[in-house]
Symmetry: C2
Subunit: 501 residues, 2 copies
């Protein structure tokens, strides 16, 4: 067996214990060699007699494999001259290795690649690994406190029989029962009076931001964004070509006056009124009214990302902008990622009547309704009272966790950090001494397997004092001391704290 | 109680049997009246004494409700002058009713609204209602044959404990176990030799088409599309501003020669080689090679929608374009919607190495990874052999159903229809007598609660003879006679068949 084909075929390994028939094993292995370019087009294969002997297979097994390979165009039989690899497979090699120049991409994709910071990918995904620690990562809830037994019981109701209702294409806007449960929840909790016909279920807030950007923005349209603000939302809107007008945050929230001065005719504002992301400020009543008045006058739109309105520990929870708005300029976005769990991939959009039809059209082009079984389980969870109970428990749990963490941080690292606890949400702000580079510190801490985010990552145009976002939801009270000590140890090793005495 | 406030407050209905505290009921009802504009800003409320008497509530209950309403800005207390609805709530009415002009939308959204045919929305969504009949709807599988017991058992494994792995943000590209199972499946079934790192899990083929359009197309880029062809894919690419170059389908599939003549420098071709959608033709070996050669030479891209490759009843299943391509120009799209069920919302994209990173970046902006529990269940279903078994059973079932339906159609409506059975897929083509309007016939049949699609809906530039797409997957053999008789009856009533004798 000195021919190229012979050398390659000698690499074939038949497993006689496998349930896969012998002829099919041979077929698959020869095909792989041809597809991978290891046997080139035009190469003659050894005779079935030789192969039969070499591979210890019957000739009929080899003929069966050859027949199928010939039928599929991998091999060709030349009368009297044996069996060859078809000419089409000539000069075949590793395609990707031949592909040295960068691929042709759309301008949109190129610009997204340049917009993307490592932080952005990291925010959602660096920590997907179940083994990675979550102690200080913002936006990570306490998975072990989730009422899994109830959830499993509710879900199993919908797993009993294979029905069209559960397996078929879902309703475009989302499951009616879930939309109705949401209208009841948002009326009670957020003062929003809407019908189920105005609610559309989406696969989380991020999908909502993208769809709304597509729906409402033309390239070059100006958009007011909070600075510092929501990174992923900003990239979604920039992907539509939006020109971002960054507006600073003060103790009342987004600075509407500056928006009116700098760019009164912006087409949209993106805001997080219940808990400004990431600073945690609540948008004041006056500012809410100012935003609504501006939007009504300019016929502009307000995207209200009501994140963490459920997780408020102190201070006053104001009604949603959507509830205050008389002119149908506000689009409300809610998510179950924080109060239930991220991998549920369910969120919702509440739209003014005039936007329902266009939003649904766009949505039908972009994607279908999320899995019905998850929508049905969430609806039952809400309707049967587990949702409000879970929120209540999480609120108490996170409040206690924040308090425990703040105590430990102040006790052990209080001279380095200046801690600002938050009234709502899942992370606090630890201000660093002036002049330090928060991004570098966050990076170094990650090297010590301690994960925080740098405030500067959230800044668009402004420079804020350096600070770290420290998630508290994932740190049980009894572990606060130990985890803060690990953080202090890392800071000591990095030279930011004096060595332990 | 003659004041406007009094009249409105008299409409308040307190339910003493409700578990909701009385003060909260009162709070919610007053708030609703204010938010809905039924009590206007500036209106004075009756005194707590009056209210206490009228509503038969204690004054402390009323004061508790008022306190919360004042704290949230709905009411204002003027010393010595009673309690008023805050001035901000003046001139409040139904916002949407004041909104008479059409909303400002993006150009993209406007063009999508005009692209959308009723058919397009209907295709996926008119039939979501569990009560709607599915007998002749294409792309509807047999839900009652789905192995729900196995599925439930596998899913329950992943519902036992609330873990970060199952509840937290999933891995960006999709669950590793599922991606690995897919690489094994496509190698065996489709000749595709790829790594799990080249596979990205998406929420179905439609999301894949949208993401690929964004990734690869600039506005005005030309795209070869099959004519007749995939409606939703076309709209997704047109939404990115693509200029569609429709290419006719002959017995070998898409007419590559015409593409080379008319628009050799198109940036992309969208094709359904395993079963041309909707005509059912298999793309010939020669045409496959011609597409690949063109793409390699032009550095263009091929989107291979391999729909229904699993459901082939006869004829030769050729290796995927992705497997034949040496130059890494092909992007393979697969879906579980047909072989498992649509509401699973799982599909996959197999990318050349050079596109993995840009695709994932775009994907991270647009959406997150689908629910982990569904990915894990699907992975187990594949790994433990249920997937191949299910495909085998569905193939046999659908083949028998097509045969039974063809027999009945030929027996009862054979003089009106000319039936073309398909080698693969879930619908056959029933050609109508020349000169008839297939869209009108499909519409009239829908009026008789019989759902088919008109071939003309799938046509872009070409005019084909009139035909209906008749789904057979949802019609059990023993019901074929009855359902075809209902179809015949409708056609008789519509005057297309002679009256029964």
């Amino acid at each position: 067996m000195k021919s190229p084909a012979g050398l390659l075929l000698s690499a074939i390994d038949i497993d006689r214990a496998s349930p896969i028939p012998l002829y099919r094993q041979l077929y698959l292995q020869i095909r792989k060699q041809v597809l991978g370019g290891r046997i080139q087009g035009g190469v003659r294969l050894p005779s079935t007699r030789t192969l039969s002997k070499e591979l210890e297979l019957s000739r009929i097994t080899i003929l069966n494999a050859f027949d199928q390979l010939i039928a599929e165009g991998f091999l060709a039989s030349r009368t009297g001259a044996g069996t060859y690899v078809s000419d089409e497979w000539e000069n075949r090699g590793n395609a990707d290795e031949q592909q040295r120049q960068p691929p042709r991409l759309s301008d949109l994709s190129q610009s997204m690649l340049s917009l993307r910071s490592d932080h952005f990918r990291g925010m959602s995904y660096a920590d997907w690994d179940p083994a990675a620690p979550v102690s200080f990562l913002p936006s990570h809830s306490t998975y072990d406190a989730f009422p899994q037994t109830v959830w499993r019981r509710l879900m199993n109701r919908h797993l009993l029989k294979p029905t069209k209702a559960m397996l078929g294409y879902g309703e475009l806007q989302g499951l009616q029962a879930l939309r109705t449960a949401i209208t009841e929840y948002v009326f009670d909790a957020r003062g929003i009076d809407c019908t189920a016909g105005q609610v559309v279920i989406v696969s989380g807030a991020q999908q909502a931001f993208n769809l709304l950007g597509m729906l409402l923005l033309n390239p070059q349209d100006s958009v007011w964004m909070e600075d510092p603000g929501h990174i992923a939302a900003r990239i979604a809107l920039q992907a539509q070509g939006a020109q971002v007008v960054p507006l600073p945050i003060d103790e009342q929230g987004i600075d509407v006056e500056q928006g009116l001065r700098e760019c009164p005719d912006a087409r949209l504002v993106f805001t997080t009124p219940s808990r400004q992301h990431p600073l945690g400020v609540t948008l004041s009543y006056a500012r809410r009214q100012a935003l609504i008045d501006w939007a009504a006058q300019q016929q502009s739109w307000i995207i209200e990302d009501d994140c963490d309105s459920e997780l408020r520990y102190s201070g006053r929870l104001l009604p949603a902008l959507y509830a205050m708005d008389q002119m149908a300029r506000v689009i409300y976005v809610g998510t179950f990622s924080k109060v239930l769990f991220p991998s549920l991939r369910l969120g919702y959009v509440i739209l003014p009547h005039a936007l329902v039809e266009p939003f649904c059209t766009l949505r039908a082009v972009m994607d279908r309704s999320p899995p019905t079984v998850l929508q049905a389980t969430t609806a039952d969870f809400m309707i049967e009272g587990h949702f409000l109970g879970h929120i209540r428990r999480m609120r108490a749990l996170y409040q206690a966790r924040q308090q425990a963490l703040v105590e430990q941080l102040e006790k052990r690292i209080g001279r380095f950090f200046r801690i600002t606890p938050v009234e709502a949400g899942m992370h606090l702000i630890a201000w660093l001494p002036a002049g330090l580079d928060d991004a570098a510190i966050a990076r170094d801490l990650a090297g010590h397997n301690i994960h925080t985010y740098a405030l500067s990552d959230y800044c668009i145009g402004r420079t804020l004092p350096p600070a770290l976002l420290i998630g508290f939801a994932g740190t049980p009270e009894q572990q606060a001391a130990e985890r803060v000590e690990a953080l202090a140890r890392a800071l000591r090793e990095m030279g930011h704290l004096p060595a332990a005495t």
